[in-house]
Symmetry: C2
Subunit: 426 residues, 2 copies
């Protein structure tokens, strides 16, 4: 499958990087040949690194689109009018389109999707909404046995970062925005992110997929986060809530309720712990109950990964290939398993000991002899008469040392019960 | 596409229910005709309700498998030896297979998947791991531009329920197990769930998909939760951790580290807030960063939804159909949007008032006249000299009443700043 790429900014560069690093896997394991046939950008300067690597390059987008050997246009330039023209022309030429351009699809999707249908081609846009979250694929394919009854999403990483910092550090909105700008999470003109416009683009697309109707982004109620103050964040805490900028979709009888605004989210709700630049989509569907998907919302490689997943899907479709094969599930490709004795984690040991002089010294001596470093020790008051719980947290230790040490400790006269061993996740 | 179903227990019944309720959608919107051609169970009693609805039924599984008009076997009987025989026979006959049988696939996948490949057919098993979480599809398709570096999952709802109750209510393991049994979350013989065997079946499958190698379930280190005590749960809290039964996969140079055991999870980790019978899969991939998917782990309809999603995928493949169309994205199917003025939520109002007699009375009078019911009021000490913050939480109220009321309150002489209005999620 020959693809033409317009736009070599952050995401475009990431797509080239991933295609290069994964092309052997796609060829050998998936039987797919995804070829970057032509790269287009506004200037020769932008194209220079790609030309150097040997890719054919052009500054003429229409030449790319009119090249009959190119089957897929990957549009990663951003903006409205030019990309719309390119995508329309590509669809007219019978090319599939992969794009991350949520603004364009939210505004002109009702023109572009019908054209794609008419021409028998596809517009895929997993990268347009929550780059690292496969939410488009989930709504279209995984939850095809379900109807979305409500959807709430944290879908703008910049706004979520600002609100997280206001909450965690007590920063004012302006301070948090400035920090986000310094860290590269917010643009010099942050309007689209902080006023909820970007979130509304994405929410309109998710609401369309959820309702299987065309949701006009211009008609959605949108309110941003710039009017939130530290006082609101503090009151929210008193209410055991977090404030999040949410995109919301609800099915309400024969209407749908779609809006984007700051929202008080109870702290026992899964969305409340989605912090920083993370995105998340919370769904309630019939036949399914609540589900949450969370991951990177933006960024070079997460977004590029989603573009590449769309390219693989198109490539399989174009080749009339079946679902991705499970052909590794055989003796010839048997896994090389790390023995449990060689795994390394932090450990929690709980020793139940007699409340006698020298017990702790005995235990720590065995651990030291076993070359197990102690991170901390907690000794709790007597539970059963004469018995004491000693909890030892270790530094990262190889499991084989642990088994030998615990065996020795369990054999100590002053240790009364079998010791408890629990591993840490990290 | 004609399917034959073996097994009409909980999940089998759910599949029939969903196929019935969604068949119009599949026919009309997706162009798919998924026909339940034959239903098989052990006894006429089990089959009676399906016979009554007009489905052809049989108690002879091999007759179903040998029916050349049936293209897909849906195996939902459970167990090892018989289902293995049926699936082998079905694959030999060139039938696709959809199953929720993780035990079977973990044990015999290395025999069944190569046979499927040889015969040019597919075994799909989204329902086998985390029913409501599309993790198989995500690993195979969405994250095809990524390599899984580590995976940690809460993949057994029974164990997670028990640990949640031990943590939330201070129950002992035995008490929590008994409660789970009473609520139908644990079986009379809970061994598979509490000793980590079910989690190991699923973890082996996820580790296979993550590593694209065959992970032998028998070789995985498995340790269950039955030895955990209230003391451990309490110490974990002191350490700002939760204890979860985790399935773990790590790539370690040229080996893979796969294990199932109780694990201390820091409370700021997304997995720590996955409670009750919920399942979750946390991934760290190259090019992607951390992602979490959470949802129902088991249950009739969530599991059945996953079976149906696999049937839709197979049906599209069998019909050589392209990705699920976005043909609703056009003027003719424009959404019927609920106006924001008609939405109903709970509200947070923050009024900044002069610290004068009667302000609160004025505000509550306006709210009462606007027919807005108050749930609670918080009045905080003076921030700026002479200014007081009054926070009012309302009961569910229609937005149109809110706007009118806030306008009136902002016009009150004693209200000094523009009032803040934030909606609640729930």
């Amino acid at each position: 499958m020959r693809i033409g790429l317009i736009g070599v900014g952050t995401v475009g560069g990431g797509v080239v990087e991933i295609l290069e690093s994964k092309s052997d896997f796609y060829k050998e394991s998936l039987g797919l040949n995804i070829e970057l046939a032509l790269v287009c950008a506004r200037s020769d300067e932008e194209l220079a690194p790609f030309k150097e690597k040997g890719y054919p390059v052009t500054t003429d987008a229409m030449a790319l689109i009119q090249d009959p050997s190119i089957e897929v246009l990957v549009e990663l330039a951003g903006g409205y009018e030019l990309p719309k023209k390119w995508i329309q022309a590509a669809l007219e030429q019978g090319k599939h389109v992969v794009t991350a351009n949520k603004a364009l699809l939210a505004k002109y999707g009702h023109e572009l999707f019908p054209l794609a249908k008419e021409k028998g081609v596809h517009i895929l846009f997993e990268a347009a909404v929550g780059g690292g979250i496969p939410i488009i694929r989930s709504l279209q394919e995984a939850f095809v046995g379900n109807e979305v009854q409500s959807l709430s999403c944290i879908i703008n990483g910049t706004a979520n970062y600002i609100l997280t910092r206001m909450s965690q550090e007590g920063l004012s909105f302006q301070e948090a925005l400035q920090e986000a700008q310094e860290k590269g999470y917010a643009e010099a003109d942050p309007t689209f992110d902080i006023e909820g416009i970007d979130a509304a683009h994405k929410t309109a697309l998710l609401a369309s997929l959820s309702s299987r109707t065309y949701v006009d982004f211009e008609k959605i109620y949108v309110s941003g986060i710039s009017s939130l103050t530290s006082a609101d964040i503090a009151f929210a805490k008193d209410l055991d809530c977090s404030i999040k900028l949410l995109g919301i979709y609800n099915k309400v009888e024969d209407q749908i309720d779609v809006r984007v605004h700051p929202c008080l989210v109870p702290n026992d709700h899964l969305l409340s712990s989605v912090n920083g630049v993370l995105n998340a989509v919370f769904l309630e569907c019939d036949n399914l109950g609540p589900t949450l998907q969370t991951g990177a919302g933006a960024g070079k490689l997460p977004t590029a990964s989603a573009v590449v997943a769309d390219l693989v899907a198109l490539s399989r479709y174009a080749s009339k290939l079946p679902p991705i094969p499970m052909d590794f599930f055989q003796k010839e490709t048997k896994a090389n398993l790390l023995p449990i004795s060689e795994t390394k984690t932090r450990y929690y040991f709980r020793f139940t000991t007699q409340d006698s002089y020298g017990v702790l010294a005995n235990i720590t001596r065995v651990l030291a002899e076993s070359r197990i470093s102690i991170e901390s020790i907690i000794q709790k008051g007597v539970q059963d008469p004469g018995k004491v719980s000693i909890v030892v947290i270790t530094e990262k230790t190889i499991e084989s040392r642990v088994n030998a040490a615990i065996e020795k400790i369990d054999a100590l006269e002053s240790v009364s019960d079998k010791s408890q061993v629990i591993r840490f996740l990290m």
